[in-house]
Amino acid sequence: MFAAGDVRAMDLLYDNYADTLYGVILRIVGDEDQAKDVLQDAFVKVWKRSKSYDPSKGRLFTWLMSIVRNQSIDAIRKTNRSGKIYGTANDVAIANTSADNIDLSLNHDIKKVLDQLDEHHRDLIMHSYILGYTHPEISEKMEMPIGTVKTRIRSAMIELRSIFRDGH
């Protein structure tokens, strides 16, 4: 029999995370139709792998995020049919540009807080966390040594912490 609690649980997962994850997907793939498919595939994957989530290893969102990011990057790899070796940095950069035209206007409050974040720092977190760039990819795109990328990301995280702590 179908218990009412199961519907609530499913709704909870979707209600809590779908919009945030959709925002991430849209930024990576840059196309609403494709993003919709990726969101669906990602949720199916989340369902299939739900048993492998180990709460002692980290937060649920971190786990969801890694599934969604990989699913999105796989999706743009598949649509790149030119036969050339896929280069994450460039492809994502193009995809990301088109996503900028979409209204990313939820959560004004957090955005206001994030406005305090140094622009370069925000850019670094966006690339490494949301878009899933690796250090070498960021190093190439932003034309800075890998060592500098690591230090700057670290400063960015420290600044992020301080604005959330002081800003709220």
């Binding site: 609690g5 649980a9 779908a18 949720f43 989530y53 979409i102 490494s128």
Partner: protein
């Protein structure tokens, strides 16, 4: 991975190395990942620092949320339902032949029509478990936090009680110092080149004598200090003294009369009259 090798790590250095942020960002090698997971299991501080980074990034991502398409929820539920059925059929047909597969597929369609909910009910149930586990963890974390706070509160309460006692003692001490009926007598060594000295407070109204014995040298276990009060050269036993941690103690006997206080070293338990050759310190009452 055996986490024992990470015991006795410098956790502050580990936290400030930035590896936890890299973990939360998702840029980390498999070996580093296992390392972080071990460390966060062993050290609550590391777990906390990691969670903080994860929450910061969650908030960051949430700022860029976009309303998901209205049909997505429904489509996802249908897809999950289909997935649940596919995996059931797949597992059933593994050991069977093809004709049976067809039959099962038909049966499956009939079942689907009969109970549209049945399929994704299983899917939702699995997700429900994931969420329950997640909520349980959050709940567990809250419980742990509550427990830690209770312990902290207890410690603080004990500390407060201890401080209150100490303040009361100090305030009593001060009152005594300022009281006109309390006299301060300094006892000094009678030997040359010996700087041992101590002070005692004598309440002339009650006869109570308080003194700080911390300056006295430690004695062998068969010896004890004994306090005397002299009146016109005649000694009166004020009791033996034990050296205490705080140094301050009250003499076991009281006196309302006298002109000199003295301390001698005596056999354990003390003597009825002082061994004058064992005189350590003495001081005249002014």
């Amino acid at each position: 991975m055996n986490c024992d090798q990470f015991l006795e790590m410098d956790i502050n250095a580990y936290i400030s190395s930035g590896i936890l942020q890299e973990y939360a960002l998702g840029h980390i090698s498999d070996q580093e990942r296992s390392e972080v997971e071990c460390m966060s299991k062993i050290y609550p501080e590391i777990r906390e620092a990691l969670t903080t980074s994860e929450i910061d990034l969650e908030s960051f991502a949430a700022a860029y949320a976009v309303k998901s398409p209205s049909k997505s929820r429904e489509n996802i539920l249908v897809a999950v339902k289909r997935q649940a059925q596919d995996s059931t059929i797949h597992s059933v047909t593994k050991d069977d032949n093809a004709s049976e597969t067809k039959e099962i597929l038909i049966q499956s369609e009939v079942t689907e029509r009969k109970s549209a909910w049945g399929g994704w009910a299983a899917a939702a149930a699995v997700i429900a478990i994931a969420i329950a586990v997640w909520q349980y963890t959050d709940n567990q974390a809250s419980k742990d936090e509550l427990q830690a706070l209770k312990v902290e509160q207890n410690t603080l309460e004990n500390k407060t009680a201890e401080l209150e006692t100490r303040v009361a003692q100090l305030s009593d001490g001060l009152n005594e110092v300022y009281s006109s009926s309390v006299k301060k007598v300094t006892l000094k060594s009678v030997k040359e080149n010996n700087t041992t000295q101590l002070a005692l407070l004598w309440n002339t109204e009650t006869g109570e004598v308080k003194l700080n014995t911390s300056a006295l040298p430690k004695l062998p276990s068969d010896k004890q200090y004994q306090l005397w009060v002299l009146k016109d050269g005649k000694p009166k036993d004020m009791g033996v003294l034990s050296k205490t941690e705080e140094g301050i103690l009250i003499a076991s006997n009281a006196t309302k009369d006298g002109d000199t206080f003295a301390i001698t070293i005596e056999p354990l338990g003390g003597k009825a009259s002082p061994s004058l050759d064992q005189l350590v310190v003495m001081g005249a009452i002014s």
